[in-house]
């Protein structure tokens, strides 16, 4: 497999949703409440890319495609990019950059707190995503640090679940997928024999 080409495909496809969102915004086609539309779409995209980044390891083992590991960083960085856009939309559209209102919101409302928490976790992960940082931290430390992606994903899904009024189907779906991806890791750790060809 040509890794460079695989990366190109993934990059282009990852850009498509945010590009279409921008296109729709430019043409005033985001519906009656465009600010809310941007907020919700970027939030969902964050969870999509976090899920993808966490799916890489199980998939590459299950499908015996070891090269897939080279896609993980890109998914993670796209997740961070959408999270940052989501955060900007929130502090701008919802809070008009009023710091006191943001702080109050964060500590008054568990779902905002969880969102903030998840975003703050993602920052060091994005910062340490370069090859140089992996080297500087050492593989083992780096791996340990990047386990925080699990925490960010769990907080992110809970953040979504607590936000919706009654129709919890989408956050619950994210939760189920995330549950599968995380239980895979638990099984791998505590019952490694259940998962074959772990060496790939």
């Amino acid at each position: 497999m040509d890794i460079k080409f695989a990366k190109q495909i993934v990059f282009i496809n990852s850009v498509v949703p945010i590009a279409l969102l921008g296109w729709d915004a430019y043409h005033h086609r985001l519906g009656a409440n465009p600010q809310e539309y941007v907020l919700h779409t970027t939030g969902t995209l964050t969870l999509v890319f976090l899920t993808l980044s966490l799916a890489v390891t199980p998939l590459r083992i299950a499908l015996k495609l070891p090269w897939m590991i080279h896609l993980r960083r890109m998914f993670g960085l796209f997740a961070f990019f959408h999270a940052a856009t989501h955060m900007l939309a929130y502090v701008w559209f919802d809070k008009s950059f009023k710091l006191t209102a943001i702080v109050k919101d964060t500590f008054d409302r568990p779902f905002i707190f969880l969102g903030m928490f998840a975003f703050i976790i993602l920052i060091p992960l994005a910062v340490t995503s370069t090859n140089g940082m992996v080297r500087r931290l050492g593989g083992q430390n780096w791996n340990r640090l990047h386990k925080l992606a699990y925490v960010a994903a769990i907080s992110g899904v809970l953040h979504y679940y607590l936000l919706v009024k009654a129709d919890t189907r989408i956050p619950v779906t994210f939760g189920i997928v995330l549950g599968i991806l995380l239980s895979y890791r638990l099984i791998k750790r505590y019952f490694p024999r259940l998962i074959q060809s772990t060496r790939s």
């Binding site: 498509v16 086609r29 600010q35 969902t44």
Partner: protein, 332 residues
Amino acid sequence: MLIKKPEEIKSGEITDESIYHNRRLFIRGAVLAATASATGLLYRKLASPGREKISNTPTPTSAESIANQTANQTGGYATPGGEKANDYDDITNYNNFYEFSTGKEEVAVKAKNFITRPWTVEVAGLVNKPRTFDLDDLLKIAPLEDRVYRFRCVEAWSMVIPWLGFPLQKLLDAVEPLSSAKYVQFFTLYDPKRMPNQRSAVLPWPYFEGLRMDEAMHPLTLLAAGLYGKALPPQNGAPLRLVVPWKYGYKSIKSIVKIQLTDKQPRTTWNDVAPDEYGFYSNVNPSVSHPRWSQANERRIGEWGRRDTLMFNGYADQVAGLYSGMDLKTNY
């Protein structure tokens, strides 16, 4: 295994290196374009930016009769305070109406074939003259008036909507409430064939709401059958809905089939589902937060920034008296 001798492939038949690379480039370009289009289509399918422009064919029979009763509009629609009414497109494409969809942008699409004739409204309970009205008879009880009201959703967005209707009081007067009647309860149609999302369990069906008698008799409380001088489109609660402008939008129940007068405070759907989040009164109140979002300000649809939310949605002068002596923090 056949091993070709070198002379079997003439040098002229060997693909030129540049063509070989070109073809590879071409195939890769095609793969990129194809996957990107597929992703684009998937995004379009999952994320609908709304505004599929549902052109509203107002409910067949009485659309004209309603329009005929409308006062001639000269200067457009605005509140007494001069706030301009929202666009018809915004009002009719951004709706909370869980009977059709939980997606505000999807309701218009899902509801477009909702049939609202024939339609009857049963008025029962503690009244002298209980009666089941045919909708067209009900609409003749009082002349329809244009009422431009602020509409404030509990989700912290708002609109200004030019309703067409008459005070609920006129209907209640017609059935002569008994003195024992203290509350009014309203029911939305339950018919999963016509309201497909009633097959899901997002809410217990049918939806019901309630008002205290003095709230129901208040001159601001409207039974609306139209907006912008036309019959209500399905997504806005056709053919008949309640409009209580000083309360959060979910109190203004849609597609009403039954009104019941009672002596006890009736149950209401959202209060049943989440009592700590939605109270019986549900008056717009910027100083009482919803547990999950602040009610201090709101996004007026069509505006960029946010507005401060007004006590009783700006109708304090008319309705604050209904609640004098009541603690509005506990009676939220």
